[in-house]
Amino acid sequence: MARGFDVRRQTGFNTIAICCFILLYAPIILIVVYSFNKGNSIAIWEGFSWRWYISAWDNEKVQAATIRSVVIAFWASMLSTFAAVLAALATTRTKPWRGQSFIFAMINQPLMVPEIVTAVSLLIVFASIKVATGYTGLGYLVIAHTAFCIPFAYMPIRARLQGMDLTLEQAASDLYATPWQTFRRVTLPQLTPGILAGAMLAFVISLDDVVITEFVKSAGQDTLPTYMLGQLRRVVTPEINAISTVLLAFSVLLVTGFFLLSRTRKQ
């Protein structure tokens, strides 16, 4: 249908599109620009310098929060990816079973339940566990992050599995490979880009979480985003801009990697 409805031809489409882009990107560009400000203000430009990057780098609180963020994101992405692989296999590589679509919905639950609700319920559950066990380490944050990262890790893996030619696995089985060998030698190698993509996405999602972290963390367990939030309530200097810019660059890098990997076709 060559003459079908084309939204691009409607009057005002371009104007609205341009407005949206400005709204989306202008603040980000401002943040990046002022991260290089020489002065103390995040609104008045006084010349270029690396001052705030150096200051952030030397800030021990920032260092600690960064390491904590990365540790949590690393474990959360590993664990959630592992769970996501199992979940994806169970929802694509088995005969249809009772309750399959229910489980599918449950896996994606974190996408639907308001984050604040999850945060509050986790807070309550973990609080009682803390009382019972006395454990107050990073484990709670890792578990919480793992839970909400699973759907993000699950989606690219499932997409990859669904796109895979089932006859390849049948061919392996035809050639005397046991189910485990088939998985190891044929399914897994084909799945690797999906797994990497899922892990990267989970990492980014964990890295910039604020709401759940804010509720679950114990005293002194600031991650980079919650540290920044705390700073904003006090004196705001372009140091925040510098941290944001680095975080932004890192996320863009990972998300780009994610898209490149998701696009990889089977040869």
């Binding site: 030619d165 006859t167 390849l168 049948q170 061919a171 392996a172 089985s173 035809d174 050639l175 005397y176 490979a177 046991t178 189910p179 060998q181 088939t182 030698r185 044929v186 190698p189 084909q190 089977k266 040869q267």
Partner: protein
């Protein structure tokens, strides 16, 4: 060697139930090139997948050398498949693909290497051993798929329309190649195709299938010259169908009276036909044009179609049926006929086939 008895496969349940295989029984011998021939959707792939272990039949038995296969998963059956899509592992080289089965069988490395080299030689792919499967042509992928399935020396090789993705010339080449491989290895081949010519040229025996059932089993000549029923006659080659009167049968010979009143004999399989009105099948190349006065069936020439190697004469018979006569073109041919001429159709006694209905 392979005994398939009364195999039925029903997909789905209740209203949506579909009978893909309906009481299929066939025995395939050692070292045989056996072909399953039939139109798309008749259940060929389902039967093959039942033997390979990817389909559980609803009822019936599948035995190899007297032992039931149905309890074994695919990876325990001494049967290998050449998939229609080849299904080569994209993350492995040609040699790794071929060695996969042997490796999974736990053969020592040296033996794997030796057999892979042998297989590469057999399918003439030695120079391509280290290529990625994405870097070779369709015909070469086909050979690799074959070598991969042959390498573990299965008792039976299943081939699901392995040549359908190839272009005409390559297909002809691979047909000969497959025949050669089958006789060199001595492995039983069960070959699936919907191409009747391919089936006729390659097979020791053919099973013609339709709607989930085997209609006729026989050698290529047998199937072509003596189709047992209308479906087989229609599906394989071109056929003229005539309504005739079967007067009586003696052994496999039947006395028939044609619509024109002329009488002749035709082959009638003893089972399934009884005197009365029956259908007679006559191949176009088994009939001839003749003087209307001396012919079995007089009529009018409606169309002459020239094909290079031969000419098709479309004759309208007196009772209104259209009959096609095929004649080979020879340089000496002088007799020129044109549409509108009064002609007659004749065929020798015994060439017609009375069909079972």
């Amino acid at each position: 060697m392979i005994e398939i008895a009364n195999v039925t496969k029903v997909f789905g349940q209740g209203e949506a139930a579909f009978r893909a295989l309906d009481g299929v029984s066939v025995t395939i011998d050692e070292n045989e090139f056996f072909t399953l021939l039939g139109p798309s959707g008749c259940g060929k792939t389902t039967l093959l997948r039942t033997i390979a272990g990817f389909v559980d039949p609803t009822s019936g038995s599948v035995k190899l050398d007297g032992q039931s296969l149905l309890e074994s998963p695919p990876y325990k059956r001494p049967v290998n498949t050449v998939f229609q899509s080849y299904a080569l592992f994209p993350h492995m080289t040609v040699a790794q693909n071929i060695g996969f089965g042997l490796e999974m069988q736990g053969k020592p490395k040296s033996e794997v290497q030796e057999t892979v080299a042998e297989m590469l030689e057999l399918v003439r792919m030695t120079p391509m051993a280290d290529r990625q499967t994405g870097q070779i042509s369709g015909g070469q992928q086909q050979r690799v798929a074959l070598a991969r399935a042959l390498a573990p020396r299965p008792k039976v090789l299943l081939l699901d329309e392995p040549l359908s993705a190839l272009d005409f010339k390559l297909r002809k080449e691979m047909q000969l190649e497959l025949k050669r491989l089958q006789s060199e290895t001595g492995i039983t081949f069960i070959f699936v195709t919907h191409d009747q010519e391919e089936a006729l040229t390659m097979s020791d025996r053919i099973a013609v299938m339709s709607e989930g059932a085997i209609r006729q089993i026989g050698g290529p000549r047998d199937i072509y010259d003596h189709p047992a029923e209308r479906f087989v006659a229609d599906f394989i080659g071109d056929t003229n169908f005539l309504e005739v009167e079967l007067l009586r049968t003696e052994g496999e010979e039947g006395r028939i009276r044609l619509a024109s009143g002329a009488e002749t004999t035709a082959r009638a399989l003893s089972g399934g036909v009884s005197a009365g009105t029956v259908t007679l099948a006559v191949r176009p190349e088994h009939a001839d044009l003749a003087d209307p006065a001396e012919a079995l069936l007089p009529g009018t020439l409606a169309e002459v179609v020239y094909f290079g190697t031969d000419t098709h004469y479309h004759v309208d018979l007196e009772d209104g049926t259209r009959f096609v006569v095929r004649q080979q073109n020879t340089p000496a041919q002088v007799q020129r006929r044109a549409a509108g001429d009064r002609v007659g159709v004749t065929f020798a006694p015994g060439v017609g086939q009375v069909l079972r209905d």
